[in-house]
């Protein structure tokens, strides 16, 4: 008898039944996996956008107070030559920058007024002959050579054009120091993507270049007309 064939048919039928049973399950659409993928993709984008635009700028800068709460507006009223009274050119043409204690002692050898700030200044610094460790907003890295003489005397620029209206301020703003480089936020600028409204909002090379291009400054050597880089990067 063809028992083999019968048995085979049974087996085949049995197998067919099984596959039929499982197939329908496989044909259903898998909503779980690809949705998760897209979702996480979106999470990723959102997280990095928030990190990059909001968290990073905040974390990048540490906030420091100036050692003495100096009032520019006040002092500007009382001196004869405006900014130049304390920020001046020395005899050899170099710029004095942020004043040394010597400058302050000219007037503040003893307490002049009635504020606590001044009293603190005189006792902690003048009497101890300690230089005030000012945090300088406009400090550039050592690769940059900047000549105040060329800009203030030759180009007759105003201090505020690069440094902002600091002379009119009542107090020194918080010094925001870049934790990686050690320089002030004023160099890159307050705006994280470098957008600026005023000429003094940013002090990166691009900002110098902008003005130089606009004014058609001759960047090169007079003789060879070359050497643009080396004028500022000795």
């Amino acid at each position: 008898m063809s028992t083999q064939d019968d048995q085979a048919k049974d087996v085949v039928e049995a197998e067919a039944g099984e596959t039929q049973a499982t197939a329908p399950q496989a044909k259903e659409p898998g909503t779980g996996s690809s949705g998760t993928i897209i979702l996480f993709f979106i999470f990723g984008i959102l997280a990095s956008l928030i990190l990059g635009w909001a968290i990073f700028p905040t974390l990048l800068y540490s906030k420091k107070q100036q050692p003495v709460a100096f009032n520019h507006a006040d002092h500007n009223d009382q001196v004869d030559n405006g900014c130049e009274s304390c920020h001046f050119f020395r005899e050899d043409g170099s710029y004095s920058g942020v004043p040394k204690l010597e400058q302050c002692i000219d007037c503040h050898e003893e307490v002049q007024g009635e504020t606590e700030t001044e009293a603190l200044f005189v006792s902690e610094y003048v009497q101890k002959d300690r230089e005030v460790p000012w945090l300088v907003y406009s400090r550039q890295p050592p690769c940059v050579f900047f000549s105040h003489a060329a800009h203030v005397k030759k180009a007759a620029m105003e201090c505020a054009e690069c440094h902002g209206p600091i002379g009119e301020s009542d107090s020194l703003k918080i010094y925001q120091q870049n934790r990686i480089t050690g320089y002030s936020r004023d160099i890159w600028g307050g705006n994280i993507i470098g957008l600026k409204k005023n000429s003094w909002d940013r002090m990166k090379m691009d900002d110098c270049v902008e003005c130089h291009r606009e004014k058609g400054v001759n960047q090169g050597s007079v003789q060879t007309e070359k050497g643009g880089c080396f004028i500022c990067h000795h």
Binding site: F40, F56, G194
Partner: protein
């Protein structure tokens, strides 16, 4: 929802995409770039006020005025002081590198004591008390004469404080390091009867006859000589350089006369012969202001005709005659000698022969000539009183034999000291002070010097740098370097007017060092008694101010004091001999041995060549080893990697089978070493020339181990007339290796 690997990956990709749309990557890149410039080991100059401080350089005897540019407290550059009488704004390579010496790794930063072969830091109190203890011990045993001091100069408050200390203590053994000053002083003493310094009016001469002097290689006051040379060029002056090798000086001269080594003195006498024979000498001076001319000229006329001299020197007869005529007929001729920069005193008779040439043309104390300058006398301290121990010590005499019947005229004979110590069973010196000098490097026959110094129980070095002598010393009491201290610098390097420079502190002492002047005062006061009485000052600065008196203020302001109105004495007054005239011969001169060429040591068969060291501005043979700025300028034909190159004539090379750039073995009676060969047409065949100033094994890795020290291969040779070292070279052999 299933959070699996895929969702994590998509989160990351989303994050990356998002990040690229934020300013983060760009800002971070910019910040990291700046961050790399701020690493603490990257040198960044300070920002700050610029200031200039004037001072005087003491790295060589030249005495140039310098001005240091500082940013805040940091010396950034050294420049020559504009308007200074010696250098007027110029400065040599070594002077310019002073800031490297100030801040570099050579500095000895605290007092050090050698314990079991290694240096240990000790406090100043301990250091001073150690020295004081030994001094007291020696004195109590009646051994004060066993204390000696080596110094670079015997003029100026610090050397004179050391000398005063030794005298009050009871020792006559203050020894100045050797140089041509020794021989020039002695020449002036014998022929003028004065204790004087030689001055050369190079600014006003129009014909310079140089017997091997390195006019542009460090002789005299280097920057001054360069400026004088420029003047000679501008005003059509003539320079005749007589030497066996085409040095920088010879190359820039108008006439280079190659000559057989060591025979310069014979040539001088040969020129004198011609001048006498042809009556070209200054009749007024010779007949009215000299004595002994007739006696002196006899052997010159008989024994130094051009026929004879040409055989000795190799210079041809026509050149000799021609040169003599040109020299005598020049309006302001000047003859100078002292080989190279003047490290070796040389043969007294040779110097006297050259000085006789100056006398023949009558340029003594005249414009453009050689002057005898009175020694600086501004230091007027109260006469010191000696106690019995001191007198007893002084009576024992000098250890180096200077002034004894064998060496009646020499004042200092440091070249004899190593042999004296080595040949004695116990060292005759128990305590040696070494100030502003490095005898273990600068004295010929370094092996003998080292052996001798090692025999001395206590060697105290005042060096600011860990140089060769400091390294083997038992105690180092480091001095401030010249940029950190006040000191008077009387210039003795051949200027023709009295000038005292003032070294001023340009910065505060950077380390725990102490002024040697202060150390001497402290030692004296610790010893008490008559010694302390001889040192009545509270500090060195007080001593200096008091000593300079009313010169102090102008010196602080201007940086130097000059006797602008000084003139050389006129002829009758300038000579203090018995006859009140310039003496060609006298009792003392007659007692000297006859003129003889100094021969190089070694036997001709084993050592067929002759080795001469040569000086250049790019290497320093003196106590300061070349700083890194300077060593970097040395050419590949002098030093290649760590190998020194010796010059030989191509003819010599062919004979010996040596090739350019290949190694060879250089041997002398003193030792041998491996060198590289450099072929040079500007050197006579049969000669080997070796740059001097290399071969340090201290003070830092930038100089150590480069090349060879010529003094390793050359030994001293006692001049029969004076006892000074007159070795100008040594016999040598070059063989293939």
């Amino acid at each position: 929802m299933k959070i699996d690997r895929r969702s994590f990956l998509s989160f990351v990709i989303g994050g990356a995409a998002g990040t690229a749309l934020t300013p983060l990557p760009w800002k971070l890149t910019d910040d990291i770039a700046i961050w790399t410039q701020m690493w603490p080991w990257t040198p960044v100059p300070v920002n700050g006020d610029v200031s200039y401080v004037d001072s005087t350089c003491t790295l060589c005897p030249g005495g140039c005025g310098i001005t240091a540019r500082k940013i805040e407290d940091r010396v950034v550059k050294l420049e020559g002081q504009p308007g200074h009488p010696i250098n007027d704004g110029g400065l040599c390579l070594l002077g310019l590198s002073g800031a490297q010496l100030l801040y570099g790794p050579r500095r000895v930063k605290t007092p050090l004591k050698k314990v079991n072969g290694k240096f240990k830091r000790i406090s100043w109190d301990k250091a001073i008390s150690e020295v004081t203890d030994t001094l007291k011990q020696l004195r109590s045993k009646g051994h004060s004469h066993k204390v000696a001091a080596i110094a670079a100069s015997d003029r100026g408050t610090v050397p004179e404080l050391i000398n005063r200390f030794l005298t009050a203590y009871g020792s006559a053994n203050f020894i100045r390091t050797p140089s041509i000053l020794d021989t020039y002083e002695l020449t002036l003493h014998l022929m003028h009867g004065v204790q004087a310094l030689p001055g050369f009016d190079v600014e006003n001469t129009d014909f310079v006859l140089s017997f091997g002097s390195g006019l542009l290689d460090g002789w005299g006051s280097p920057v001054r000589m360069f400026r004088a040379n420029s003047k000679w060029r501008e005003q059509n002056g003539k320079v005749v350089q007589i030497e066996p090798r085409l040095s920088n000086t010879a190359a820039k001269s108008d006439n280079w006369i190659p000559i057989k080594t060591g025979t310069e003195g014979a040539l001088a006498l040969g020129l004198a012969h011609v001048i006498i024979k042809e009556s070209l000498y200054n009749k007024d001076f010779i007949h009215n202001y000299t004595s002994g001319f007739e006696k002196w000229k006899r052997p010159v006329v008989d024994g130094f005709s051009p026929e004879i001299v040409t055989k000795i020197t190799g210079v041809n007869q026509a050149t000799i005659t021609d040169l003599a005529r040109k020299f005598a007929r020049a309006s302001k001729p000047l003859a100078v000698c002292g080989r190279g920069w003047g490290a070796t005193p040389g043969s007294l008779k040779e110097f006297m022969a050259v000085h006789a040439l100056n006398a023949l043309v009558g340029n003594l104390n005249m414009a453009g000539g050689i002057w005898a300058l009175p020694e600086p006398d501004y230091i007027e301290w109260p006469e010191l009183e000696m106690d019995r121990a001191a007198s007893a010590g002084i009576q024992k005499g000098r250890i180096d034999g200077a002034g004894t019947p064998n060496y009646p005229h020499a004042r200092y004979l440091l070249n004899r000291l190593p042999e004296i110590i080595n040949s004695a069973s116990t060292s005759p010196i128990d305590l040696l002070f070494v100030a502003e000098s490095n005898p273990l490097y600068t004295l010929p026959d370094t092996a003998a010097t080292k052996e001798a110094f090692e025999k001395i129980p206590l060697v105290v070095s005042f060096s600011s740098y860990m140089d060769e002598t400091a390294e083997m010393a038992d105690l180092i009491l480091p001095n401030h370097i010249y940029l950190e201290r006040y000191e008077d610098v009387p210039v003795t390097s051949g200027i023709q007017y009295p000038l005292i420079g003032l070294a001023k502190p340009v910065v505060n002492p950077q380390f725990n060092t102490k002024h040697t002047g202060d150390v001497m005062i402290l030692l004296a006061q610790a010893l008490g008694g008559f010694i302390a009485n001889a040192f009545p000052w509270k500090s060195y600065e007080a001593c200096l101010e008091e000593t300079l008196g009313d010169k102090w203020e102008p010196m602080v302001e201007q940086g130097y004091w000059i006797n602008a109105g000084s003139k050389a004495a006129d002829w009758p007054e300038t000579f203090e001999t018995a006859s009140r005239k310039f003496e060609f011969v006298n009792k003392e001169i007659d007692a000297l041995p006859r003129f003889a060429i100094v021969k190089p040591q070694g036997d001709e068969t084993s050592f067929p060549l002759v080795l001469i060291p040569y000086d250049s501005m790019r290497l320093q043979r003196g106590f300061i080893g070349a700083p890194p700025f300077v060593i970097k300028t040395v050419e590949d034909s002098v030093l290649k990697a760590n190998d020194i190159l010796v010059e030989i004539n191509p003819e010599t090379a062919t004979t010996l089978g040596l090739k350019a750039g290949r190694y060879a073995k250089l041997s002398t009676p003193k030792g041998s070493a491996r060198v590289k060969v450099h072929l040079f047409d500007g050197i006579m065949p049969g000669l080997v020339a070796m740059p001097a100033g290399l071969g340090h094994n201290a003070p830092d890795k930038y100089l150590s181990g480069k090349g060879l020290n010529a003094n390793d291969l050359i030994g001293p040779f006692e001049d029969s007339a004076s006892g000074h070292d007159a070795a100008w070279g040594v016999r040598a052999k070059l063989s293939k290796v």
